[in-house]
């Protein structure tokens, strides 16, 4: 029956590779992506378990222990007010993540919605929305965020709002372009021919088709936003003391750079690693999600 066995082999369907399997295979193919993912996992875990990890309070210092060298008690030394630098670094991860995700969600939802509406409706709606976005885009992101922070005042929520307004046009532009491409597809015409409403076409068909590109954009934006938050805090319009923020820590440590360099360098390294991590993961996602790169393993 050997012949029959061979014939049966032809009949058997080849093993199916599901979309998820394919995604993970490509995503984890490059070890460097895994490295980025580990950085981000550590960041998230640090933020969640900050109270357990931090040896001291991030806000209350002991003036008697001001500007200590690194020791077994204070691994990264203390700042001018005697606060444990490591503890502030650990709590700073919460600020970084809150600002990053907060502004990505806020700007992402509004930007994607506006871009999709402009692209799909076309005409005068498109004109109004996209010209406003162009105007916003005309300002450098940090400058715009600075102005908005100055108007609204400092604090976590205001930083999130400022950065959201500054990054909004990016999402709208990309989504607008994607919508213009996707809406010309035959399946959109077919869908309308089946009696689907415009809202249905936008949310059931255009949005899911644009998600791969938007996910990549959002991941890379997360890194950029954390960097922007650090910049605002460094300039003094971001998170206000005594709350811990990496940018502010770099700024505070600047004065003691020659005698106590770790005060500025350690939050600097943290910022760099996190932005690096987000960019690596963003690249990995792009490789795995971009249909043009499909099939290349």
């Amino acid at each position: 029956m050997a012949k029959q066995a061979i014939i049966n082999e032809f009949r058997e369907a080849p093993p199916r590779v599901s979309e998820w399997q394919r995604f993970f295979r490509v995503f984890f193919q490059r070890k460097i992506v895994l490295f980025g993912l580990i950085i981000l996992a550590l960041l998230v875990l640090t933020a969640i378990f900050a109270p357990l990890l931090a040896p001291f309070s991030p806000v209350r210092g002991d003036m008697a222990e001001s500007l200590q060298q690194p020791s077994w008690k204070h691994w990264l030394g203390t700042d001018i007010q005697g606060r444990d630098s490591l503890s502030r670094l650990i709590y700073g991860s919460r600020t970084a993540l809150a600002v990053g995700f907060g502004s990505v969600i806020l700007a992402g939802v509004i930007g994607v919605g506006l871009g999709m509406l402009a692209g799909y409706a076309g005409g005068i709606t498109n004109m109004i929305i996209m010209r406003i976005m162009d105007a916003l885009m005309g300002f450098p992101m940090i400058l715009l965020a600075l102005v908005i922070s100055a108007i609204l005042g400092s604090g976590l929520l205001n930083v999130i709002i400022a950065l959201s307004v500054a990054t909004l046009p990016g999402y709208a532009r990309v989504m607008h372009g994607l919508t213009l491409t996707i809406r010309e597809n035959d399946y959109i015409l077919a869908e309308r021919g089946m009696g689907a409403s415009n809202i249905r076409v936008m949310f059931m068909h255009i949005l899911p088709n644009s998600l791969p590109s938007m996910i990549v954009l959002i991941t890379i934006q997360l890194g950029a936003l954390i960097l922007a938050e650090a910049t605002l805090s460094f300039l003094g319009v971001g998170i206000q003391p005594p709350d811990a923020a990496w940018g502010a820590m770099v700024a505070d440590g600047r004065r003691y750079l020659l005698t106590h360099p770790w005060l500025s360098i350690s939050p600097g390294i943290a910022i760099m690693l996190v932005v690096f991590g987000f960019n690596l993961v963003g690249d990995g996602l792009r490789d795995a999600l971009d249909p043009r790169l499909r099939g290349i393993l």
């Binding site: 979309e19 076309g122 005409g123 597809n185 035959d186 399946y187 015409l189 077919a190 869908e191 309308r192 021919g193 089946m194 009696g195 689907a196 409403s197 415009n198 249905r200 059931m204 068909h205 899911p208 088709n209 998600l211």
Partner: protein, 329 residues
């Protein structure tokens, strides 16, 4: 047989930078219940645009300028293009199948999601019933192992299979009319024949009327009861399939038939192409648009405007001055 759809003097134009394109310029036709008609013409003659106009699926810069689309006696053009009345007609009452099966399905949704969408929307079914009905429909259009394949994505299906899915989708709500816009152009010859047979079979079973839009006279010869020949945005000849194939009267139709290869011809017979190109739809002459390519033209053709459709014999109409009655195949 009752009249189901009557299109009167439909005019659709596209405003472009180089001028107004008169894509459909006064097209009238009708469709009876349970009838199959063919709409034939070369690329750019307005056959697809006329069908999209019936469904009000024309997007800017295109615009329906005038005419009536009477469906069950009600003028569909009176309804706003994206209003609830029009949406209730599309898919549920008049369904459409498009030319490109490879791109007519959304690549990121499963076949189940796309097949059940219409059932939930128009038939108010719940997800479970809709899924069962979708599997039934897939079986009906000849997709094996529907139970398993329904969770697949469009890229798991071949072109012919996707067109079967499109047919299943179009027929899912028992529409009164199915408009098939070049349904088999993108498929290979054997698949074409299979799908046409399938469509004919299904519309007969479901008592649906069918409009086949095609550039291929061979496709409609076998299935359509009546045929409309379009040229440059207008209908130039209409009649029963027998009239068109055995007693064609318009020079354009005669030209089209001369370029179909036949098996019963003498060996060595050459096909006769229609020389020249169709006119630019922006600069339409007042005279007959076929004039430069016509081999029957008479003096009157140069002086008079394009004639109206005139009956030559019962239900057989042509838009021509020349006497082509002695034409013999």
């Amino acid at each position: 047989m009752a009249e189901l759809l009557k299109v009167n003097d439909l005019v659709t134009q596209f405003k472009t930078e180089s001028g107004v394109v008169k894509a459909v310029d006064g097209v009238s036709y009708y469709l009876n219940e349970q009838e199959i008609i063919g709409l034939v013409g070369e690329s750019g003659c307005g056959k697809s645009v006329s069908q999209l106009s019936v469904m009000q699926l024309i997007r800017p810069p295109g615009k329906i300028i005038g005419g009536e689309v009477l469906f069950h006696g009600q003028d569909l053009l009176k309804y706003p293009a994206n209003g609830p009345e029009m949406r209730a007609v599309r898919g549920a009452k008049i369904a459409m199948i498009f030319q490109e099966p490879m791109t007519s399905l959304n690549p990121v949704l499963t076949i189940r999601q796309q097949l059940t969408e219409m059932l939930v929307l128009h038939m108010k079914m719940n997800e479970e019933d809709a899924r069962a009905r979708a599997i039934e429909l897939m079986g009906l259009v000849g997709i094996p192992a529907a139970e398993r394949r329904i969770e697949g994505y469009p890229h798991h299906f071949s072109g012919g299979m996707r067109q079967r899915v499109m047919i299943a989708m179009a027929l899912s709500c028992n529409p009164h009319i199915l408009i098939a816009d070049e349904p088999t152009t993108a498929l290979d010859a054997t698949t074409q024949a299979q799908l046409l047979e399938l469509m004919k079979d299904l519309v007969q079973r479901l008592k649906t009327s069918l409009v086949i839009v095609t550039h291929n006279l061979g496709v409609v010869a076998r299935y359509a009861q009546r045929i409309y020949i379009m040229y440059a945005g207008r209908i130039v000849e209409s009649g029963t399939t027998k009239d068109i194939f055995q007693r064609p009267r318009h020079p354009y139709t005669i030209g089209l038939l001369k370029c179909i290869p036949r098996l019963d011809e003498e060996e060595g017979t050459k096909l006769v192409p229609i020389v020249g190109l169709p006119p630019n739809l922006i600069n339409m002459p007042a005279t007959c648009a076929f004039l430069p390519r016509c081999s029957w033209k008479i003096d009157k053709c140069f002086k008079e405007p394009w004639p109206e459709l005139t009956p030559v014999n019962g239900n057989h109409f042509i838009r021509c001055y020349a006497d082509t009655s002695e034409y013999k195949k």
